[in-house]
């Protein structure tokens, strides 16, 4: 009797469990999601409604301005009569925005240089391609880019570096700045951790001094103060001076990021490497840095992205980078007043560069993830 009743109870539970496999309608699908996330309390409901109202007020007018009422291939006179955005400024002036004062007829040269650079960058994205041949490819590519920009051989007209500007200048300052600043930053971080007092204090003084001043100050010093110390008749290229200032500045910040990674390493890793008989350089290169640099990929990339955007500060020492050429374009009487369109265009270029870096860093993090 008792056994029977238990059995029947079991049956009931089984049936209940089966019938409850499907969740209630109100907790799944669009309705369920909205209820759980947007309208789960009266306060959240009000916030949701207010947000919707705001979006309604902002998005349709923007779409109207940017796409529906906008002009794409018109003259500046037509633009001034129109209601919407005047994207026509870009087809009309893009060569000046991208290449600045570079001689108009030779602008295919910086264009080709940029194509080579982008090609190399994309090819280098794949870690399977990281072989010795890639290093040679970069070397050849860099020489080729230099020759294209500078000219003076193979029948190419020589172009003074004072005429370089726009996107090539921005990319030049960024790519060289970042690739030189990164290893320098790593060395500074190692130096700061060093047990040798002289090296340690030099590194600390360097890092703290550079971090203590704004980049603008360094740029001013490189362009105004530094030449005063040079002997008469000697002058160093303005781009090179700005480049060095950017490298020095970025390296100090990278150094602190990398130091954070080094401090995150457990003593056990050092001990294991040392007890195998590896010397200091081997321990750092083979065991510590690969792990420490991996840990700090996210903050390092933040630092590099901000350095890329900081190259726009070279405006103040009269270099014509991408932002400066845009500004200059806008002082053309025909196209005055269309700054939103021009700046949106430049912002998209900057965004593309920064997004390339951040998406690549995410990919690198996934590839290097070894589960510990």
């Amino acid at each position: 009797m008792l056994g029977h009743s238990i059995k029947s109870m079991d049956n009931t539970t089984t049936i209940d469990a089966k019938s409850s496999v499907k969740p209630p309608v109100s907790s799944v699908g669009v309705v369920g999601w909205a209820r759980a996330n947007l309208f789960n309390s009266w306060f959240n409901s009000i916030l949701t409604l207010l947000t919707l109202l705001l979006l309604w007020k902002v998005i349709p007018p923007f779409v109207n301005w940017a796409f529906i009422d906008s002009l794409w291939w018109s003259t500046s006179a037509e633009c001034k009569a129109a209601e919407g955005a005047c994207w026509s400024i870009i087809p009309a002036k893009y060569r000046y925005i991208l290449f600045g004062l570079y001689p108009y007829d030779s602008q295919w040269r910086p264009f080709l240089a940029i194509i080579i650079l982008i090609g190399l960058l994309f090819y280098s994205r794949n870690r399977a391609h990281w072989k010795k041949s890639l290093a040679y490819a970069w070397l050849v590519g860099l020489i080729l880019m230099g020759l294209l920009l500078r000219g003076g051989i193979l029948g190419l007209a020589s172009v003074e570096s004072t005429l370089w500007g726009g996107l090539p200048l921005t990319l030049l300052l960024s790519v060289f700045g970042l690739t030189a600043a990164y290893p320098l930053g790593v060395l500074l971080a190692l130096g700061r951790q060093s047990e040798m007092p002289a090296i340690k204090s030099i590194c600390i003084i360097y890092i703290e001094m550079i971090r203590g001043v704004p980049l603008i100050t360094l740029l001013f010093m490189s362009s105004i103060v530094f030449p005063l110390f040079l002997p008469e008749g000697v002058s160093i290229n303005a781009i090179l001076r700005a480049q060095v200032a950017i490298i020095m500045f970025t390296a100090a910040y990278i150094a602190e990021v990398v130091r954070g990674g080094l401090q995150g390493m457990s003593a056990g890793q050092f001990e294991a490497a040392e007890s195998l008989g590896l010397n200091y350089y081997q321990t750092m290169r083979l065991v510590i840095l690969p792990q420490a640099l991996k840990i700090v990929i996210p903050p390092t990339v933040s630092q590099l992205i901000s350095a890329l955007k900081d190259t726009s500060l070279v405006v103040i020492i009269a270099l014509y980078d991408l932002l400066k050429t845009t500004q200059t374009t806008l002082s053309d009487p025909d196209w005055m007043g269309f700054s939103s369109e021009a700046y949106i265009f430049v912002a998209l270029i900057y965004f593309a560069c920064c997004y390339f870096m951040s998406s690549y860093s995410r990919r690198l993090e996934e590839e290097l993830d070894t589960g510990l």
Partner: protein, 257 residues
């Protein structure tokens, strides 16, 4: 306490491989090792036990200079440990070390972990180093995991890999710093089994452990340390059945019950 089976017998040679005389070490004001005198013969197996903080880990860490001693001398295989970095590196290539927390290199695969030392320190060609690595991985019965990363292995497997990594350097002495105390109980045996195999082959071993079963079946000599001193040392049978010092008796009664 693990029962580790029958005792391992080996003939001892008369040559000393480690000689520690009148060695002292301080951590700041704290006198962590006091007047240590210890001679280890070739193929000898020593188990070091004692309460925590007694200096037993510090003692074996001094032998490959992970810790620096301040007074007295340590001679390993004829090389005296001093501030000379070349001597230190030479000693470290002859002395293998296994840590409580394994300390495998998490960014390298298992086989790369093993081949790293031979390739860079012994300058062995990569292919040969990897063959040696596979040989030792077979030996600790973990060859099928060679291409995995340490993070994908259990604690016991990681510790066996760590032992194999040391063996790849063909060391003359192996130091074990509480090799089983970070392991889950069911994994202790697999690691002890590897260590017993090593003992059978005549490896010189210094083992800091609380595995008294291992001590009984494998050690030639058991050292008891307390307050930075070697309080008592004896053969396992004498040590466990007939301890002389009160502190040893107290320690044994605590650990065996």
């Amino acid at each position: 306490m693990n029962d580790t089976g029958t005792a391992v017998e080996n003939q001892l040679s008369e040559d000393a491989i480690i000689e520690i005389t009148g060695m002292h070490k301080w951590f700041g004001e704290f006198h962590v090792l006091q007047d240590i005198n210890l001679t280890v013969k070739k193929k000898e197996r020593i188990v070091i036990c004692g309460p925590s903080g007694s200096g037993k880990s510090t003692l074996i860490r001094c032998i490959n200079r992970l810790e620096e001693h301040q007074r007295g001398s340590i001679v390993v295989d004829g090389i005296e440990l001093s501030n000379d970095i070349k001597n230190i590196e030479k000693v470290r290539t002859e002395v293998g070390m296994v840590f409580q927390h394994f300390n495998l290199f998490p960014h390298l695969t298992i086989v790369e972990n093993l081949a790293l030392g031979p390739i860079w320190v012994r300058k062995v060609p990569k292919k040969e180093a990897e063959e040696t690595a596979m040989y030792y991985l077979e030996k600790v019965q973990i060859a099928e995991q060679a291409q995995k990363f340490p993070g994908q292995l259990s604690g016991g497997q990681q510790q066996r890999v760590a032992i194999a990594r040391s063996l790849c350097m063909a060391p003359k002495v192996m130091l074990f710093d509480e090799p089983t105390s970070a392991l889950d109980p069911e994994m202790i045996k697999e690691v002890l089994d590897v260590m017993i195999d090593l003992a059978r082959e005549g490896m010189t071993m210094l083992v800091v452990t609380h595995e008294m079963g291992f001590a009984k079946s494998v050690a030639h000599r058991v050292l008891f340390m307390d307050y930075g001193q070697i309080v008592e040392q004896n053969t396992p049978n004498e040590f466990f059945d007939n301890p002389k010092h009160d502190r040893t008796k107290l320690f044994l009664s605590q650990i065996l019950n």
